[in-house]
Symmetry: C2
């Protein structure tokens, strides 16, 4: 089986990729995340490509695929990253409560082949998430748990915040940080033409 490298330090992405039974290594590098983009989809595609291309396979390591990913929350076209502090987290939750928003994860698969060539597959998945209304007291309580502080859009769908999410349209794991269903299907497509897989 062709080697897979996850270019992300996120424990949630590691867990998701492991959950579907794929073997992989983790390698990360610092990247400058300031990029220009005309849409949230373009932004996460570009960021995922930056992360994947920052990892260079070693000599003789091909065939190997490097997976980079980036997740953002968008509400009315405005991108919400990780909150700066608890006040910023409350501001974001006030924007999200009582309505729907979009979560985008961009994924780039860079496949290095034995003949020295490299193919690039970049895509973005969108999931719509619907929040129930939240009172100020509920926002305070949730921010006090600490859960929002390290997450894009100031919430984690897989934790305490599940009490405020009414439903979603799309891939749940995409909101957690990696659309593993799509990743699996794209890797399977590569297998079809790559005799070395």
């Amino acid at each position: 089986m062709k080697k897979l490298i996850l270019a992300s330090s996120s424990p949630r992405r590691r867990e998701l990729l492991g959950q579907i039974g794929l073997e992989f290594e983790i390698r990360t590098a610092d990247v400058d995340e300031h990029v220009a983009a005309s849409s949230p989809e373009e932004l996460v595609r570009k960021l995922s490509h930056l992360k994947a291309s920052a990892i260079r396979p070693e000599a003789g390591e091909a065939p190997v695929t490097v997976l980079g990913a980036d997740t953002i929350v968008a509400v009315d076209g405005t991108v919400l990253g990780k909150p700066a502090d608890p006040e910023d987290a409350k501001r974001m939750l006030r924007l999200l409560q009582g309505r729907s928003h979009e979560v985008y994860t961009g994924v780039t698969l860079l496949s290095y082949l034995t003949d020295g060539s490299c193919t690039c597959n970049t895509f973005a998945e969108e999931t719509k998430v619907f929040f129930a209304p939240m009172t100020e007291a509920e926002i305070e309580t949730y921010v006090a748990t600490g859960d929002p502080l390290d997450k894009a859009g100031a919430y984690g769908i897989q934790g305490f915040c599940a009490r405020y999410i009414t439903h979603i349209e799309g891939d749940y794991n995409n909101v957690v940080g990696l659309p593993v269903g799509r990743v699996y299907r794209e890797l399977k497509k590569e297998r079809a033409w790559d005799a070395e897989f």
Copy 2:
């Protein structure tokens, strides 16, 4: 805070209810799950009520709410329970692959008050789940993991099978076994009129 009793031995339901920060006790009783129903929604509502009403609070324990739940998978109106054996699991997965189906969780909240009265709140949540096509080899591999054998419809959305799920419409946790968003909102409504909560 009014006491909450989860009338289910499912580790997944326990985890979901704990995740949203509610305190509760677990108490279970055997119930005869053979009931007649004209639809999947009616079936899970009835089963959840059977499970909740099988638990009788002790004297002086009111106010207390007992939560019963039941989850089933339905495809073209046919209900899929837990598979009898690996062959049965493969049969179910062949039905589900490459299309959508519905997952229903019925929930009953029986609230016993200090004046001896009891209120009953029963509802069913529906989530549509979309499977990618699966080859016979993929079905074999998944059944060999053992994951399908203790699950309604022969799959667990939160495990290995995530690689075959393209998207959902509805509450993800409803598919895992308990729609905790809806449960939280219903409990909150009860608080509004129950001064003892």
